[in-house]
Symmetry: C2
Subunit: 613 residues, 2 copies
């Protein structure tokens, strides 16, 4: 079933463009905590990641999907080849490329991490869940743990000897995390006895590591209800001996693994803690009732990571579909469609195929720009921290605002882009011989986990819009307005830039309407329109960033010889921007009109009227 065509494709040229030409990574390389990084180091890192993705993780994507995970005698066995890939990924240090060197990381800008993660996850979503969850757990302990906990857990996790997980969800507590019932009882020795069941635990067990440190949200006896009474515990699969080695089995068992639509190589576990009353955990950081705020430290990063998961699959889906369209011959050109003897052409010549490809291209490249823009704000916020409060606040605010947008839009669009990729292949796209049907299945979970996309939309509208008196939103909309002001008379892109301005005004009107709801206490109206508003914000952002890319491309092209290979690349920027501005951007105004009309029919319909069966 393996196919020469079934391989991971990375667009390193576009990655370089977004990092260096659009977001001017060069300006911050060598600065502050990024002092060890120059352009050469970044390019070498990208190249090494691309190699790893193409040679190590990518080739296991299809086989891991087909093989899936097995639970035998309480132990999860991962697909063939995962252990070797695990070792190589850890040896490469790439998962830690932007972790503080103080914690053993590479200290690169977050923008570099976006590019690295796009390739690691894009080449094998299911596999990459294991090191991602593990590093996430390690980072959390590094940031919140006691010195003893750091010593005991973090080096083993970062080195790949041990794994880590995040255990939030319970059968009755999914989106409603505060409904968690897992209990913790303090023991005389300061440890806690943990009892409860966690579900949907990604990378919840594996045979790649000697031990696994589960980070478990639980409620200490007598603590408050809701999220405020949750504490975070480190619960190792094997108790840790005094010498730091893994010892006797702790009372944590894998109840079952889920059978899913996709990411089959990732073991999604039901974990039972303390069924025999022998589950011992340690309170992370030694502070009770701080579990949610500790988890929240990781939340932005986790949500950005899901946005990058969407980007990774969307990009390789697009590039595979493009490659197929370049090779597959079918039908004659439309200019000869009546002549059965006309030469057969590649499907890339057909208008509808080109339309689908250009839609995919513009969305993929727009989402990549959004992800890197977000990471650039992370990096600049870090550089300005403690030095320039205003700039720090600006950059930090954009991170807050853009995070739910990236997570939700990228994950929704990844699924749509995979759908278009399948359609581009035609019947072949429905077969497991080609990678796109798996990409489609794998991508569907992105809109659900790490906070469903509706939770992202509610976070955007209910929290981020009004944050700091609305400053982040005003700054964002001001940035777009400045761009419009500067370029609306552009000879090539004037019309598109004006359309951007009109979409910006639509967003402003929608924001005012949402503020009205909030001031009038009409909170219930928000969930009906929040997803639509998030989409408007995302499409405004993408149109802006793509037009910005096109302008950069024009300037760059003007300096190139007629034969320079980069001319094609920059030309692509023109058409991606024009396509998006002309075909997708008009939807922002249309959505605003619907939002402003304030339809309440979903609340007005009586429950029984949905269906009488």
């Amino acid at each position: 079933m393996a196919n020469a065509d079934n391989r991971y494709r990375a667009d390193l040229r576009d990655v370089r463009f977004v990092l260096f030409e659009q977001f001017r990574l060069g300006e911050i390389l060598g600065q502050g905590s990024f002092s060890g990084w120059g352009e050469e180091e970044v390019l070498a890192t990208l190249k090494e990641t691309a190699r790893l993705a193409a040679e190590v993780t990518g080739p296991l994507n299809g086989s891991g999907d087909r093989e899936g995970c097995r639970l035998e005698n309480g132990q999860v066995h991962v697909p063939k080849g995962y252990k070797e890939a695990w070792d190589q990924v850890h040896a490469s240090g790439l998962k830690m490329v932007s972790v503080d060197p103080e914690f053993g990381g590479g200290g690169a800008p977050s923008a570099v991490r976006v590019a690295v993660e796009e390739m690691l996850t894009g080449s094998n979503t299911a596999f990459n869940m294991y090191p991602s969850l593990s590093f996430g757990a390690g980072e959390l302990i590094e940031r919140c743990g006691t010195p003893e906990q750091k010593k005991k857990f973090v080096e083993n996790i970062f080195g790949g000897k041990w794994g880590g997980t995040m255990c939030l969800t319970e059968p009755q507590a999914g989106s409603d995390v505060g409904a968690a019932r897992t209990r913790a009882r303090k023991n005389p020795d300061g440890t806690y006895s943990i009892q409860g069941t966690k579900i949907f635990i990604s990378a919840g067990d594996s045979d790649m590591v000697e031990n696994i440190v589960h980070l478990v949200l639980a409620r200490v006896e007598g603590a408050a209800p809701g999220t405020k009474g949750l504490s975070l515990f480190a619960v190792p699969k094997f108790r840790v001996n005094a010498d730091g080695t893994a010892g006797a089995r702790n009372d944590v068992t894998v109840g079952s693994i889920e059978h899913k639509m996709g990411i089959n190589g990732s073991a999604t576990c039901v974990l039972n803690f303390g069924e025999n009353d022998g589950c011992v955990g340690e309170l992370v950081g030694g502070v009770e009732n701080a579990g949610m705020s500790q988890m929240f430290l990781m939340m932005n990063g986790a949500r950005i990571a899901v946005g990058i998961q969407g980007l990774g699959l969307a990009s390789t889906a697009y590039l595979n579909a493009l490659n197929y369209a370049r090779e597959r011959k079918q039908g004659a050109s439309i200019t000869h469609w009546k002549d059965p003897t006309a030469p057969r052409v590649t499907i890339l010549e057909h208008g509808d195929i080109r339309r689908m490809l250009l839609e995919m291209k513009s969305k993929v490249e727009g989402i990549r720009a959004l992800a890197v823009k977000l990471a650039t704000h992370v990096d600049r916020a870090a550089l300005h921290a403690g030095k320039d409060d205003e700039k720090h606040a600006y950059h930090h605010g954009q991170v807050e605002l853009l995070t739910p947008i990236l997570k939700a839009y990228s994950s929704d669009q990844a699924f749509r882009i995979c759908e278009l990729a399948i359609q581009t292949y035609g019947g072949a796209g429905y077969l497991k011989d080609h990678p796109v049907e798996q990409y489609c299945r794998d991508s569907k979970i992105f809109s659900i986990y790490e906070g469903t996309n509706h939770i992202q939309a509610m976070d955007l509208v209910g929290r981020k819009l009004g944050q700091h008196g609305g400053a982040h939103t005003q700054q964002f909309l001001g940035d777009v307005a400045s761009f419009v002001e500067a370029h609306q008379a552009h000879p090539v892109y004037g019309a598109e830039v004006k359309a951007l301005g009109s979409a910006q005004e639509s967003v402003v009107n929608a924001v005012m309407k949402l503020m009205e709801y909030s001031q009038a206490g009409q909170l219930a109206k928000v969930p009906l329109v929040a997803n639509r508003f998030l989409e408007m914000m995302a499409e405004l952002t993408l149109a802006w960033l793509l037009l910005d890319q096109a302008l950069i491309g024009e300037a760059a092209m003007a300096k190139l010889s007629a034969e320079h290979p980069d001319r094609s690349f920059y030309a692509g920027k023109r058409y991606a921007a024009q396509f998006f501005a002309r075909n997708i951007l008009p939807g922002v105004g249309a959505k605003a009109a619907v939002l402003l009309a304030g339809d309440d029919s979903p609340y007005e319909i009586p429950d029984a009227a949905f269906a009488t069966v």
Copy 2:
């Protein structure tokens, strides 16, 4: 993994409403060829189909997906239970409910067949492929075969003793059917030797039947290139003895079966004909070069059938998601969201869940109305044939116009509705414990087979719009305009009806633009906008039909007591219509604006600029 929740759900109340209250099936029952059918017979048929779907085919849906098909020693083995279901489906006569009684069918109106097929395919898409393809082949022979061919093949096929397939696609000839290379050489005895490879043959082999009659498009030596030189051959798996029984093996072999994203219970085969130069076929109807026109006799029906496949899965996806939302508790009401001790509510209380459900409901019920409307035109065309040419032409014209719309919109939306169903379930929707992820995977093929949705859109724009001097289109748009005229001052629905009128005008403008392209010889511009135009037509139609339903519902409700159980049903019609008119219908105008702007960027982008990797 089986779950009490994992079951087929049919909405018989809505089916009855659409058949009898909206499309007044009663008016044609008892008339002409429907003389044997009264309301009672229809209701009994629907009830029996629902029973079969719930008890026989539905329970095999999940197990068939997991088990899939096996190819062993050249023989395809179907999943457990399929053979028993096959026998019961054939015994029920339901697959032939609207086939002419002369051919052994039930003679019911096509509108009844839509309802029956919705349940048969909705309960088990993969299984239903076998009897559907088989009956399609049987009908084709019945309509086009010689008397001897009918005698030899049809009774065995209709009785379920033998199966049948349609073999069009070849490795280099998918959408481009005319590129078929399978060859036929006439033998001295009047039979033909067939040689070639066909791929993507649904239900291409099975162990449920004694023999399979493959209907194969092939080119007789010396025939013209393209579709005009194709002839249709009946090629049995086992040659037929003089006494009509299945005899020696013919030279047809299953090369492989495909591994697919979904419909895993349906064997998609590569069939090799004449590898050992021993494949004998008979020319269907004894006429060479008539293959495409013979196939085209079945084409409308096959495309309508795919539309119904979409409807079937979309409807059960919606009803399962609704049921889950009614039972699943998560979170507190938004009016108490800050209080962690507030009672947990079912997710049906959450605004975003209601929004998703109402979107699914309005689309499902709108597509059902479209499918039944189309079938009603088939029925009325049949009744008026040879009696009232004008009415016959009108009804026949609407069938022509609406067929590509139903096929493409229903299949695209089925996938989207399944996506919403998964999102409604949250993480649970990604698991195989619940049926929606399978519905999603199964539904993806609908947009591809029986002519991709782009081929449907090109058929609509390039063929149907201008058919009979544009008469079908004018009549359709006139019907919508009459409805707007009649109801735009309605006290409840006036605003929505006016919005319908404005959408109708947008469609008119788009039609004029498309005519302009055609008159100016700008044919290449059509593929860029055809899909968008089809969506506009579909959304206009759904909004119209849903508003019509709402008006019927208001009138019916006015006659009911306050406690009548049907009140909820009719109330549902109000909100489905309002939701669709306020949230989806505005998209028609927005799409028209984009279409009229005539963006050419997909053609302008140089091939090399799509990506430089």
